[in-house]
């Protein structure tokens, strides 16, 4: 029955390093997140302002989380209104990375809780969806990277804009590479369903890759992924939380605008 072994070809020492690095990355993320949100909470209160009321960190997380799944956010409506290509590419990244995140959580739950759900038809569908998600987020990331590089005269970029996009692209590419190497070595049944991974497998098959190479690419993938997570609160990427709140507030503002000098 089609399935895959987690941490295949990863020696125990590397696994341990992975857990330590994950904890460090998560720790840095939490500290950074707390430090940034604490700063917001030091802001002045304005009773009629949705975001400037008396709020706790939990309120902000709740508001941000719920808006994440609103139609506006899911369909990138505000961006779409201004530019269809950018809106579509944002949806690619947003949906792609969200699905990849859910996928990773599913793998973790399956592995640690021993659920055994990732096999057979479910596993094949899961692999296909995750491949589509990875491809979509890669296309979106490359689009925004190209935009930042080639439209640099029209766009304002900070020092972290291009490196962050490049980092996401590297994470996705190394992710597909890891999948491709595994498929090239193990050649599981119906592997073509993971069509992007299978494409990578074709290349790696010609290169005659070994499990050691897998662990190297996997380490690079993990390194950048964990670096990215830890870096989120210290970079522009924190907009993924802040923009949820301001976008939500702007809808409220459009309504409240009418209340100022209109009955």
């Amino acid at each position: 029955m089609p399935s895959r072994e987690v941490f295949i070809y990863i020696p125990p020492l590397l696994r341990m390093l992975f857990y330590l690095a994950s904890m460090l990355s998560l720790f840095i993320f939490i500290i950074g997140f707390y430090s940034r949100v604490s700063l917001w909470l030091r802001g002045r209160e304005e009773p009629h302002d949705l975001l400037s009321r008396r709020l706790s960190i939990l309120d902000l997380i709740r508001m941000s989380f719920f808006y994440f799944f609103s139609k506006d956010c899911l369909l990138a409506r505000r961006v779409m209104k201004r530019s269809k290509p950018r809106g579509i590419m944002l949806i690619f990244i947003y949906w792609g990375l969200t699905i990849l995140f859910i996928g990773t959580v599913t793998v973790a739950l399956d592995h640690y809780l021993g659920l055994g759900i990732l096999k057979g038809f479910f596993y094949l569908s899961f692999s296909l969806i995750l491949d589509i998600a990875g491809l979509a987020s890669f296309i979106g990331t490359v689009f925004f990277l190209i935009r930042r590089v080639f439209l640099s005269r029209e766009i304002v970029s900070g020092w972290d804009d291009k490196p962050l996009l490049l980092m996401i692209a590297v994470i996705i590419l190394t992710g597909f590479s890891v999948e491709g190497i595994r498929l090239a070595i193990t050649e599981p049944p119906l592997m073509d369903l993971s069509f992007v991974g299978a494409l990578f497998a074709l290349i790696f098959k010609h290169l005659d890759v070994r499990p050691f190479f897998y662990s190297v690419i996997w380490s690079i993938h993990v390194f950048f992924a964990l670096l990215f997570i830890g870096f989120i609160p210290f970079s522009k990427q924190f907009h993924m939380f802040a923009a949820q709140l301001t976008s939500q507030d702007s809808l409220y503002r459009e309504e409240s605008l009418q209340g100022l000098v209109h009955d």
């Binding site: 500290i31 950074g32 430090s35 940034r36 700063l39 917001w40 909470l41 030091r42 802001g43 002045r44 209160e45 304005e46 302002d49 949705l50 975001l51 400037s52 009321r53 709020l55 505000r78 961006v79 201004r82 530019s83 950018r86 029209e154 766009i155 304002v156 970029s157 900070g158 804009d161 210290f234 522009k236 924190f238 907009h239 939380f241 802040a242 923009a243 709140l245 301001t246 976008s247 939500q248 507030d249 702007s250 809808l251 503002r253 605008l257 009418q258 100022l260 000098v261 209109h262």
Partner: protein, 402 residues
């Protein structure tokens, strides 16, 4: 050179602090920013201002400051001051903003911070508090001349009335045909209205608010609100979008409680009068009019349809639109108290408005803001393109008096 122990967080609202983190630097706003349109300088663009300010916070109060110590680059700070004051605060960037940053409110708050740390305001803006203190207006003109040069002799102002009219400094000293039109139209409607004596009708506070000099605001607002309340005012109207904006948005918090009267722009009041039949415009003319939405009227308080309704009530006219109108209108250059400091920018922006009005074949350019009125007229001086500039109430007054 470095500065220490300056809080860039205190004083901003929670929303504004979140907004600073929300900017993705997508740069959509650059397409709509009028200052970008005439200068093309990205270093003074909205995302760059946000990026710089965020850097000030990180360098003084963030985790970075905690680890490396609080430090700030004075040169960067001076660049920021120039950028934030060169802005007309028109808010077009906020309208275009894909993450909903309310920039029309953010920029004044950041300017206030610059004043607090002694780097703002810029140029002659620094004189505004002194002028307001000494003369009650931002133009340093004698208060006794506030109404004397334009107020029609045959219009009666009541001692007490439910309707109050606030003329405003810019209208009284720089756009007199406009405020004259206002009172002629009010007179024609016939409802008794009251005004404060010239020495009591002091600045509404907007120029001080917009330049970040907030010290006197509370006192000014309390004086004005108490004076109108004593005259029995239940609705206060003004033709100045900036005055209306601060009255509706900030007067309640500066006064400390809800205002005892409603705030309306004159076009709203006139529209109601036309609808109810209290005002009739029987005469008209066959002309093409183009209406410019003032930033603080459209984006500021959402008054977009009312001026158009008033204009369409004039028989025979054809109303045409700028490509950018309503919530997306383009600043004429007069906003943000930048017009007297960054004069060339303001003139260039004013000429863009004139250019489009002429290209579209309009016979008259209709404005409804004294600052726009003053600046666009100035922009037409020594300019090859010409168009008649008329205030909306000035125009209405022509037809009800003829």
């Amino acid at each position: 050179m470095t500065e220490k122990k300056v809080s860039f967080v205190e004083g901003l609202t929670k929303r504004q602090l979140i907004e600073l983190d929300a900017c993705t630097r997508c740069s959509e706003c650059l397409k709509w920013c009028p200052v970008q349109e005439v200068t093309g300088r990205k270093e003074i663009s909205p995302p760059e201002k946000i990026r710089l300010y965020r850097e000030f916070i990180e360098n003084t109060e963030g985790l970075k400051a905690w680890i490396l110590g609080s430090r700030i680059d004075r040169i960067l700070l001076e660049d920021f001051v120039r950028a934030v004051y060169e802005c007309t605060t028109c808010g077009a960037c906020g309208d275009a903003c894909e993450v909903g940053i309310f920039s029309q409110r953010l920029w004044p708050a950041l300017r206030r911070k610059m004043v607090e740390i002694g780097l703002g305001p810029v140029g002659p803006q620094a004189n505004l508090p002194k002028f307001v203190k000494e003369t009650g207006n931002v133009y340093n003109k004698p208060p006794e001349e506030r109404f004397s040069k334009w107020f029609p002799e045959d219009v009666k102002v009541h001692e007490k009335a439910e309707l109050g009219y606030y003329a405003g400094c810019t209208g009284c000293y720089e756009a007199q045909p406009m405020v004259r039109g206002d009172v002629l139209v009010l007179d024609a409607i016939g409802e008794p209205f009251t005004m404060l004596p010239p020495e009591e009708e002091v600045c509404c506070g907007f120029p001080l608010f917009i330049t970040g000099q907030w010290d006197m605001l509370e006192d000014l607002v309390k004086r004005l609100v108490s004076a109108y309340e004593a005259r029995g005012v239940r609705m206060l109207i003004s033709s100045c979008p900036c005055c209306v904006n601060i009255m509706a948005r900030d007067w309640p918090s500066l006064y400390g409680s809800p205002l005892p009267f409603r705030i309306r722009h004159i076009s709203q009041y006139v529209m109601d009068a036309l609808r109810s039949g209290r005002l009739k415009i029987n005469n008209g003319f066959r002309e093409r009019l183009i209406y410019h939405d003032p930033c603080y009227l459209s984006r500021g308080v959402g008054v977009i349809e009312e001026p158009r309704y008033v204009l369409r009530s004039i028989p025979g006219i054809e109303l045409i639109e700028f490509d950018r109108h309503g919530m997306n209108s383009r600043c004429c250059g007069a906003g943000g108290a930048a017009r007297k400091v960054f004069h060339d920018n303001a003139i260039a922006m004013g000429r863009l408005t004139i250019d489009e009005a002429v290209e579209k074949g309009a016979d008259k350019l209709i404005l409804s803001c004294p600052a726009c009125y003053s600046k666009v007229n100035e922009a037409m001086t020594d300019y090859e393109k010409k168009i008649e500039i008329v205030d909306i109430m000035e125009l209405v007054a022509r037809f009800i008096r003829s």
